[in-house]
Each structure stands twice: as structure tokens, then as C-alpha cells.
């Protein structure tokens, strides 16, 4: 039986978890994810890749909003920077994908400094509006810098091969995305336990108190922007690889709203919550579609006239119901369930 927090070695101190159950579940999950492409079709793979990209983006946003407490509505802009960087470097400059992918993250991180500096004195809604304005500015730059971005025409993404393997579809894209997702989660988990992570949490809880304790707000806020945007930029690059075409319509403002919904629904400030929220919202439309396919005749007039609108409404209602009745998010729900069964039969 586990005895709490008694540690006997440095290895135990730095381990991400000391729970054999968590380790077993994690290994099991990774094995299932590795085997998934052999059990599901291409459409299933497409959904999985979309969900994994959403996980990466959500973990990135969670670093900024959940951990550091800086609300951002500019995620669509950072996604666009990452996607366009990857697309242009691959298609127009012929860079290899192993260089264009990190370059996409770096470009988004550099751009985030430009947004981050004026945002340093802002918090809450004021910061949200500033980052929203950034998304609009990025949109305009992409549209008007036609010599670089092809303007409104967009860019077809080609040439993402590694050892003659096409990384833009099927299993290779899935494994690439899965690998980056695992790395992102591990990086986020580790950063949250370092001095940087603790500084971010201190800033989130009370920035003035954090400053009094010696935390350099400028440095750590900018660092949060950069780390978060790097990850979101990579997510954008993966979107460009998956869709194989980017233009500004792909990065509509709704993406920023959905990203916030994901981390709030999952449980703000929790990496596991961000993962759960991303997976939940990615598969919810498919679950609703399957429900309607099972219970509504696709040849009916009702289907052609209303079913899609109803699906959209159901999607919104599910989110509202979750936010109202599960305010701690999916991770809170999971903790309650776990606590109940851990204490069973003495649960209260």
C-alpha cells in the first residue's frame, strides 16, 4: 500500500508519478494509441490526428491561461503563424520537414514576444482583447503580404517527406502527431514542476505577491507566452500537414474560442484536463453524428432540412450543461469519481 509522500531517492523525487496504477494505465494507453492505426480506418485516423492536434494546442494554451492565468484569444493567430511558416518553408523554400516543424514553433514564439510585451501590463479581459486584436492583425498581415503568404489564395502544403515517407497522411502523420503529443505533454508536466512552472502558478494566483517573492514578472510572463506559442505553432504546423492547404479561413476566430472552451471544459490549470477537454470536444460532433445516424432516417425531409442545425445546437447545449453542472471540468469529475471509489465503501 502506498504511504503518501515518503521518498528515498532522487529518482523518486523527480519521477512524474509514484503510482504503479498510473504508470500501468499510461503504458496501456500508449500501447493502445500505437496499435490504433491497425484497428481503425483512415477516417478514424483523421479524427484521431485532429484530436491529437487539439490536445497539443490545448496543452499549449493551458500553459498560458491555466497555469499562468493570462487569458488569450489570440490562439488562432499563433496557429496561423505556425501553419503558414511550415507551409511556406516546405512548399516555397523546399525545407525538410524536420526543420520546418520546429521553425513553425520558433516563428510563433518570436511573434508571441511582440504580443507579449504590450500585454505585460494587462490582465483579464484587457489582455484577452489585446490578444484578440493580435489575431486580427495576423490575419491582415497574411492577407496583404502576398509576396510571402500568397495572400487570400492560400498555400498548398507539399513536400513533407522523411526517408521517403509521406508525413502528410495516414499512419506516418498519425505517429508523427502522436509522438509530438507525447513530447508536449511530458514537457508541460515537467515544466510545471520546475522553478518556471511554480513561478507561473505564483503569477496566476497573485502577481503582486509573486513579485514580492522575487519573481521577475516580465521574464516569466514573456516566457509563458513564448512556451505556449511555440507549442501552438507546432499544432498549427501539424494542421497544415493534415489539411495540406492553408489560407486565412482555416484559422477563423472560432478556433480561439474553441481552444478556451476545451481547457475550461477539461479543467482550467490541469494538463490532464486540457487533454480530456480536447479529446471530448474533438469527438463530440462525431458522437452526435453517430447518434443521429442511428436514430434518424437519412432519406427523410427532416434530415436534409434540420438535422445539421440540430446537431450544432446539441453540441452547444452539451458544452453549456457541462460548464453549469461540472464547473471543475472533466478532470474535476474524474477526481470525484476516483475519490469516491478510493474511499468506497466509506465514501461520502
Amino acid at each position: 500500500m502506498r504511504t503518501g509522500h515518503y521518498k528515498e531517492s532522487l529518482g523518486q523525487l523527480v519521477a512524474l508519478t509514484d503510482s504503479p496504477t498510473v504508470k500501468a494505465w499510461s503504458i496501456g494507453l500508449v500501447v493502445v494509441l500505437l496499435a490504433a492505426p491497425f484497428a481503425i480506418g483512415n477516417y478514424g485516423l483523421t479524427l484521431m490526428v485532429s484530436a491529437l492536434i487539439a490536445v497539443i494546442g490545448a496543452v499549449g494554451l493551458n500553459m498560458l491561461t491555466g497555469t499562468t492565468g493570462l487569458i488569450s484569444l489570440g490562439q488562432a493567430g499563433f496557429l496561423a503563424v505556425g501553419a503558414y511558416t511550415n507551409a511556406i518553408l516546405l512548399a516555397d523554400f523546399g525545407w525538410p520537414v524536420w526543420l520546418s516543424l520546429p521553425a513553425a514553433g520558433i516563428a510563433a514564439a518570436i511573434v508571441s514576444i511582440i504580443v507579449g510585451i504590450p500585454s505585460l501590463r494587462l490582465k483579464g479581459l484587457y489582455l484577452a482583447i489585446t490578444t484578440l486584436a493580435f489575431a486580427f492583425i495576423i490575419n491582415h498581415i497574411i492577407l496583404y503580404a502576398e509576396w510571402l503568404t500568397h495572400g487570400p489564395n492560400g498555400v498548398f502544403v507539399t513536400g513533407a517527406t522523411l526517408f521517403d515517407i509521406d508525413l502528410q497522411k495516414g499512419k506516418p502523420l498519425y505517429y508523427l502527431t502522436l509522438g509530438i503529443t507525447i513530447l508536449t505533454i511530458l514537457a508541460a508536466l515537467n515544466i510545471s514542476r520546475t522553478r518556471i512552472g511554480r513561478a507561473w502558478m505564483a503569477i496566476r494566483d497573485h502577481d503582486i505577491a509573486a513579485r514580492v517573492m522575487g519573481i521577475d514578472l516580465v521574464r516569466y510572463k514573456l516566457l509563458a507566452f513564448m512556451c505556449s506559442s511555440f507549442i501552438v505553432g507546432i499544432a498549427g504546423a501539424l494542421i497544415s500537414l493534415q489539411i495540406r492547404f492553408v489560407n486565412i479561413d482555416v484559422f477563423a476566430l472560432i478556433l480561439s474560442i474553441e481552444a478556451l472552451a476545451i481547457i475550461i471544459l477539461g479543467g482550467l490549470g490541469s494538463i490532464a484536463g486540457a487533454v480530456l477537454g480536447a479529446v471530448f470536444l474533438s469527438f463530440l460532433p462525431e458522437a452526435i453524428r453517430l447518434f443521429f445516424t442511428a436514430f434518424v432516417d437519412p432519406n427523410s425531409t427532416f434530415y436534409t432540412s434540420y438535422v445539421f442545425e440540430i446537431r450544432g445546437v446539441v453540441y452547444g447545449v452539451v458544452i453549456v450543461v457541462f460548464l453549469r453542472f461540472v464547473p471543475d471540468g472533466l478532470i474535476g469529475l474524474w477526481r470525484n469519481v476516483r475519490k469516491y471509489w478510493s474511499n468506497w465503501p466509506l465514501a461520502y
Binding site: 495540406r244 477563423a252 436534409t304
Partner: protein
Amino acid sequence: MRKHIIAITAALMLSTTAYAAEPGVTDTEIKVGDVNIMTGPASFIGRAVAVGSKIAAAEINAAGGVNGRKIVVVTEDDGYIPARSFQALTKLIEVDGIFALNGTSGTANVLAMMPLITENNLPTVVTTAPNELVYKPVRPSVFTVGASYSDAFYGQLKYIHDNLVKEGGVYGLIRQDDDFGGAIEHGYERAVKEFGLKDAMRLRYKKGTANFAAEMAQMKQAGVNVLANGGIIAGAANILGEARKLGMDMQVAGVWSEDMPPSVNLSAPAGYDYLVADYVALNGPAVDAFLEKAKQFASADEIAAINRYTYITYVGLKVLANAMAQCGQDLTRACTIEKLKATNGFDAGGLTAPISFDNEQQLSGTAVAVYQLNAKDKTFKALTDFVEY
């Protein structure tokens, strides 16, 4: 016993191999996909498209189908979001196993689907986004019906210059800052150059802009009396509303989306008898005949959703079915593409100019007719026949 098993297996294989290579085709049906805007503010377009496909499929099926096979249309929603278009088409190809594609949503959406279309050699008829980006460069399996926005605006400005404002015309353009707006400006530019028009002002705005007070004040100050209105639906209506507030007396050229009933209802109160140029017939015997046919195959709700997108999608599926029919029983994608490419003078029943894809760009229906709205009774009258510009 062993012989029986071999015989049964052989029989089963023979019965399935004929069509196993071609997804979406069985002995009894052909699946045709439709990715469309079924949710969100532009869903009235998607609904109209879905009704067009449904009427065409029902009519073809009632007449015995395509060489005995019924057409089944499978619709997926993309909400006008390119990433979802890609996902929707993946689903149609992988889960539903469609044979061909008829509905393709907006320009960015069809471009997002393009890698999948070309990769799967999917016979595709694009009827709702006839943008140059779709047919340049030409993709072997993609066939486009429709005129360019550029030609549509050029045609209207030519008509205005030749017939309505022969002298003293001061021209202005307001358009979105995207590919669609760029195409409109291209037609405007061509008219300005060819007719030596006085080009007073060109303004760009961001998609979704709702307030045009400043833009129209600038137009008034510049003395604009012919406006190329690149706004669509609510945007176009707001532009005209602001112009009316400012008491501007002018001729207006508009986008073809402004001939749809929802757009007319929004724009007509401003009182401008604006022009539109469309590659689809808006009235006349062809439309009357179509509406009569619709009563047979569609519900009252569906008939209420009919607009120009219904007609053009109907034509799209009919021309696709015509190509499939020419392939006989051994229906393949390659054969359908070949027959589509050979299509010449397919009679669209007057809903559009006859369809011919036997050209380098696999592009047809490029002729447009100019119509004028009567803002009082919300009807359109044809000012020209279908003309190539």
C-alpha cells in the same frame, strides 16, 4: 463438400469483383457525396444545394436510375470551415465510400478538399465555387460550372456603361479583402480600362464587417454614382442601407448571391434597383419548369429553400449522371472523368447555358446574363441573354 465451398467462394468473388475496384458503386446504387454548409449563417446556401441534389437524384431515379442503378446522395456538413470540409470528405470517402462528388461548399473549402479529390481521382463537379483557384491549375478529375466574379462584374459594368449611365459616370468599388474580392476588382479593373471609366474610389473591407457608414460617406464625397458592390448578403444590404441614408442616387452592380430571396429581402428596403449578373437563370420557362418538377420530388419546406444554388447543383448532378450513364454497366471513375471531359453542349434545360467541359480548363457555364431587381416587388427582369465576356 470442398468443391461446393470452392464453387460458392468463386461465385461470391465473381459477383463482387466487378465493382470491388470502384467505391460507391453496387449493382443497385451509386453513392454521390455532397459537402456543404448545412449549419451557420450561410446554411441557406447548403440547404438549397442539398435540395438541388435531392431533386436531381429523385428525377434520375424515377426515370430508372443510371443504367439501372439508383443515385444515393450523402450529405455532410462543413459549417463553411475548410478544416471541417477536409474531415467531411474524408468521412465520405472512407466511411460512406462515395463514387463521385457534387457539392463542394466555398472556395477555400473546395481547395482544402482538393488534395483528397486528386489523390482519390474523385470525379467532382464544382458548381458553387467557380473561382479561378479551383480550375487553375486544372485537376484531371475536377470539372467546374460557373462564371467568374470578374466576368460577372465586367458584364454588369458594361451594361451600365452602354445603357444606363452613358455619360458622367463616376465609378466606385467596395469589396472584401480576400480572393473573392480580388476577383471582383479584376472585373472592375478590366471595365475601367476598356471603357475609360472614371474610377473615383476603391475600398476594401474585412469579411464580416457590418458597419459601412465611413466607407459610404467617402463614396458620396467622391461623387460616386455607379457602385460595384462587392458585399454579400447582410454586408451588401448594409452598404445599400448606408447609401440610402446618405441620399446617394446611383446604379449598383452586385454579386450573384444578391439574387437569392434572403438577400433580396435584406437589400430591397434600401430601394435600389440593383443589377446582378448570374450564370444561372433567375426566371423564365426553365425556372418555372424546374419549380413544377420540384413539387413532385421535394417537400414544402425544401421548396421554400430553393434558390440559384439549387438550380446549379441540380445541373451539376445531371451532367455527372449523364457522364456515368455513358460508361454503361462497367462504371469506373476513370471512365466517368473521361466522359465528363468529353461533355459538349449538355442541355441544362435553360437553367444555365449548355455545359461543355471539352476545353483546357474543364470549365463551363461561363456565360452570364444580367438581371435587374425591381425593389418594390422583389422580382428580377432579364436585361441580357447568357453572354460570354
